[in-house]
Amino acid sequence: MPDTSRTRNRLKFSGTTVFLYLVMLFVFIISVFPVLWVVLSSFKDNSAILSSPFSLPERFDFNPFIQVFTQYNFGLYTINSLVIASVATIISLLIYSMGAYSIAKFRFPGKNLLYLLFTLTLLVPPHTKAQPIFSLITNLGLSDTRFALVFVYISFGMAITMFVMRISFMSIPDSLNEAAFIEGAGFWRVYWSIDLPLARTGLATSGIMMFLGNWNEYFYAMLLTSSPRVRTLPLALAFFTEAFSYDYTQMFAALTIVILPGIIMYIITQEQVQASVASTGVKG
């Protein structure tokens, strides 16, 4: 990228360079240390945790983890979580980016009211949603299915996606659309082939936020499913953390088990995720 070389040249003041690296170091530390500390502590015994917080574990005993992962079908739960979270994310991205597109690019009566209502859904307290959603899913006969969770998770992304996507569409110059419309391109085509690709950053950002929310969702997974067949990871993990309420080693181990699957997933997909955000195209 030509960008890179140019900005590099600008880093001639060593003071600036030092500052950049200090910020990066700080970010690195605050992001990695808490997690690393928890993982390391889970390998220490109680007295080591209490007396020497910085020491490295004397040995790495993976048995507790192996036990946990063999006792339950974690492979299945991971796949369930992955499928449910991704399907819900993709469907909501489609639905809400269409909605956000209308609101960002066109004028029509009721637009502001709709936008306000959609973004307010972010602040609807969870307790008031539980009962209506539970009856909706039960009445549709979807209880204890993966689809129940997909359906519910679709609804969760509304505010954030509407919000982020609207801004993304708004930062695309209107002139592009007008030119395309004058050339006779259809509505869907303009949306799908011109605007959506340019709003890629927004899609990626809201997609990531929604996926993470779905991936970690626990309450509705607990309410709406019961059999191990459709169980998701956070729900499965809740069964363990209950059992591990006593000594610190086990509490750290429980926490490690809770946070690790997500981080491993992220490390695997990191490249693609970051690549999708870093749009290379030049806008305008």
């Binding site: 639905i95 008031t128 708004m170």
Partner: protein, 293 residues
């Protein structure tokens, strides 16, 4: 920008595009929102028939002994979120945009705390800030061996501790802003360079204003997160010591514990209003309805 002919032709399509969103809204949110607003004017235990009691819940909500401190905390946290929190996220974005060596690794690593659920993150911070064996105090004791602070459970540290659980975790902000920075057309950079703008001037005059949507978005997202912040408090201080770290969601959940759904929903309506106010004021401040380019 008046509605032109082309645009008018496409209005029906615009509505059609909104239909799925409206459908989801009707299915999942209409009943809850209507319930919240209506029952906030009633005496209701959550299961029997609500009885209208006018503004009683609101009056009781505003006269709660913990209301004022919750409001103060909300304002302080919102202010910190809008300035320091978003500021840090933006700073990291600008740092990474300079693409120093290792920037990709840092960008990747910064997401990790966001992957961990907020419940697990709160637990981690409870351990990190533990007086006996927590990481933070052990570190401080290397310098000052007699140091004793129970972060989450002593005034005035509890407020600081709760703030620290999210203050520097702005990966989403960095993501949004970095995305916008990378989208700035290169001819604008070139133009700035020809004008003789040096690094900082280019940032102030060109890049920062062009990221105004992204920054506005970040501020709205982080303030609304403060309004709705629950787990970071419920799993650490639970609003204590005393009422030091109370906020509105904690009042709301406490009201539910006592089966006072009317009061809880009055608190929820108050949260709606705060959210609407945030949306409105940030939209104004950042001129988010006007096109950038």
């Amino acid at each position: 920008m008046p509605i032109n002919r082309i645009e008018r032709r496409y209005v029906p399509f615009a509505y059609a595009f909104l239909l799925p969103t409206i459908a989801v809204f009707l299915l999942f949110y209409l009943i809850p929102i209507v319930t919240v607003v209506l029952t906030s004017f009633t005496r209701w235990d959550g299961f029997s028939t609500p009885t209208f009691n006018g503004l009683t819940n609101y009056l009781r909500f505003f006269s709660q002994s913990s209301f004022l401190i919750s409001l103060r905390n909300l304002l302080l946290w919102s202010l910190i979120a809008a300035t320091l929190h978003v500021g840090f996220g933006v700073l990291v974005a600008f740092v990474l945009f300079q693409k120093p060596k290792g920037w990709k690794a840092v960008r990747g690593v910064y997401m990790i705390p966001n992957i961990v659920s907020s419940a697990a993150m709160a637990m981690i911070f409870r351990f990190m800030f533990n007086n006996d064996f927590g990481f933070l105090n052990s570190l401080i004791r290397l310098v000052r061996p007699s140091f004793q602070v129970n972060w989450f459970f002593e005034s005035p540290w509890a407020f600081v501790a709760v703030t620290l659980t999210w203050l520097f975790y702005g990966a989403i902000i960095t993501l949004i802003v970095l995305g916008d920075l990378m989208n700035i057309p290169s001819d604008l950079h070139d133009a700035a360079r020809i004008d003789g703008a040096t690094g900082f001037q280019a940032i102030l005059r060109i890049q920062l204003p062009l990221c105004r949507y992204a920054i506005g978005t970040s501020i709205i997202l982080s303030i609304t997160s403060r309004i709705a912040m629950y787990e970071a408090i419920a799993l650490t201080t639970r609003g204590g010591p005393g009422d030091d770290t109370m906020n509105i969601p904690i009042i709301l959940v406490k009201a539910i514990t006592d089966l006072n759904y009317g009061l809880a929903n009055a608190a929820a309506v108050f949260m709606f209003l705060m959210g609407m106010f945030t949306l409105w004021i940030i939209n104004r401040l950042f001129r988010m309805n006007n096109p950038i380019y």
